[in-house]
């Protein structure tokens, strides 16, 4: 991946994002935020609570409007990529619809709007296969484990063949063993599809292990504190061992940086 010559998937320039509070005052969460994400990049985002990690994902997904500055997704406004279904979102709680079976949940994006018509239940079955869910496709979300639910949420996000996958602490509520396994599956999916992934996490381990770059944010208001480049550890395209001393070093630096946020 040669970032210098690749097209940017996401480009934020002097971006301010905030929410209108109930009293009408504007509460700025992200301020003077600058970031370029290359197409096909895996970017992890970490920072203290209130640093606007999720807010940035929501701005890219066109769920919240920028107050100032510019935000482009594949060279146009976030709303265009939303309407084209270029962006999918995975929430921390899987947000599966409990009245739909696993398969029906994965098919949901294809049943809404015109954008969804390209794609079939064959794709859904292939995705469920890939994520090890074939035996569960007729179960309801209430009948499967938290890790399985999150796999279903990933399958639902992938069914529309997005160019950008936004993940907001997707494995934050899972036990460590399940999380490690899903991390490895996500890396495999990323390599197979060439998607751009933005992955918000609270875990330094996840941020360092998954990301090509790890974005460290400071809070109040949220700003880019540091971008840690991890590509040199991963340039051979192989999955890094979690015990690799270079990874441990990178994590130590990140922890040190976060303690000053």
């Amino acid at each position: 991946m040669n970032a210098a010559h690749a097209d940017f998937a996401i480009a934020a320039k002097a971006l301010d994002v905030g929410y209108q509070s109930a009293s009408g005052a504007l509460n700025i969460v992200l301020q003077d935020f600058n970031l370029d994400v290359s197409a096909g990049e895996f970017l992890t985002i970490i920072g203290p609570s209130g640093c606007g990690k999720s807010t940035f994902l929501r701005a890219v997904a066109d769920l919240v409007q920028p107050v100032k500055g510019s935000l482009e997704v594949f060279g146009s406004k976030p709303v265009d990529s939303r309407l084209k279904r270029d962006v999918s979102f995975v929430f921390q709680d899987s947000t599966l619809l409990p009245w739909r079976t696993v398969l029906e949940n994965v098919l949901l994006p294809l049943q809404i709007g015109k954008a969804g018509t390209d794609g079939s239940s064959g794709d859904a079955n292939a995705l469920l296969d890939m994520l090890g869910l074939s035996n569960f496709k007729n179960r309801y979300p209430g009948q499967i484990s938290g890790g399985q639910k999150q796999r279903v949420a990933i399958a639902r996000a992938l069914i529309s063949k997005p160019k950008i996958l936004l993940m907001d602490e997707p494995f934050g509520a899972l036990d460590e063993i399940t999380r490690d396994r899903l991390n490895d599956e996500l890396l495999r999916i990323w390599r197979d599809t060439g998607m751009t992934i933005l992955f918000v996490t609270h875990s330094i381990m996840e941020a360092a292990y998954l990301g090509e770059r790890a974005l460290i944010l400071s809070a109040n208001p949220g700003r880019v504190r540091k971008i840690v480049d991890l590509r040199s550890l991963k340039d051979n395209g192989q999955t890094l061992s979690r015990e690799d001393p270079r990874l441990t070093d990178a994590m130590r630096d990140m922890r040190n940086e976060l303690s000053h946020c």
């Binding site: 929501r58 997904a61 066109d62 769920l63 939303r82 309407l83 279904r85 962006v87 999918s88 979102f89 929430f91 709680d93 947000t95 619809l97 409990p98 009245w99 739909r100 949901l108 994006p109 049943q111 809404i112 709007g113 954008a115 969804g116 309801y140 979300p141 209430g142 009948q143």
Partner: protein, 252 residues
């Protein structure tokens, strides 16, 4: 959480409870000196029900029709209005308080007005049954339609879902458990509405029969009518539960 009893007891205990009450009613009340023109025994009520089968049946049908039609109209209009209110805050802000106020009028006070408006036929009974079902379903349905989580809302926004798609694929399924809990209640109140309507102006139906039997000291017939009212409620309730089981097949 309620603790589940081992399975045979689930059937044996309620049946045993009911049978023991019936036995006590049959034998203890006469022993206590309660005369049968005030409280007839279960066997006397059963006797009336077999002997006056045709009369009871003739009066059962109008009440059945009125309750079921009232149930359908009242709940149907409540569901439609809830959908309108959820999509138009201005209409909700303007008219929900009016409905709230109308709901504070006791149905017994409202019933004569409705009879004045709709005459003495079946229509006013249907309207009374509908009015009595309407409000709880409206309130529950609004709550149900609004019970979608912020993440669900965002999921549908990212998918660029239209309002109709969000209603059909998200709001209505979310509201279904709320709707059915108020339909269960409405299964009893619809019958109450029909009976109240018949009390005030009718010569047919279980309500009319209750009034006439009371004035004529025909307590066997009175109790038989009461049993039929209760059976009617139970039947509608059972239908609602069956529909609920069919519609809501998942467990959270």
């Amino acid at each position: 959480m309620s603790i589940k009893l081992p399975s045979p007891w689930n059937i044996v205990l309620p049946l045993g409870g009911a049978v023991s009450v019936l036995i006590a009613w049959q034998f203890l009340l006469p022993l206590a000196g309660v005369p049968s023109y005030i409280v007839p025994t279960p066997s006397e009520i059963g006797g009336v029900m077999t002997k006056e089968y045709a009369l009871l049946w003739r009066n059962f049908w109008p009440t059945l029709h009125e309750s079921v039609l009232g149930f359908l109209f009242g709940n149907g209009i409540a569901v439609i209005l809830a959908i309108v209110f959820v999509h138009n805050r201005y209409l909700q802000a303007a008219y929900f308080p009016v409905i709230l106020f109308l709901n504070t009028i006791p149905i017994l006070a409202l019933a004569p007005v409705i009879i004045l408006m709709f005459g003495l036929g079946m229509a006013p009974k249907v309207v009374i049954a509908a009015v009595i079902c309407f409000f709880p379903t409206l309130v529950n349905m609004i709550r149900g339609l609004e019970s979608i989580t912020p993440n669900e809302h965002e999921l549908f926004r990212i998918l660029s879902a239209s309002k109709a798609e969000t209603l059909w694929r998200l709001r209505l399924p979310r509201a279904a458990p709320f709707l059915f809990s108020s339909l269960r209640i409405a299964s009893a109140t619809a019958v109450i509405g029909a009976v109240v309507g018949e009390w005030i102006g009718s010569d047919r139906g279980l309500g009319a029969m209750i009034i006439q039997a009371t004035f004529n000291y025909q307590s066997g017939r009175l109790y038989a009518a009461i049993v039929l009212c209760s059976l009617l409620s139970i039947s509608i309730f059972a239908l609602v539960v069956a529909c609920e089981k069919w519609v809501i097949r998942y467990h959270d």
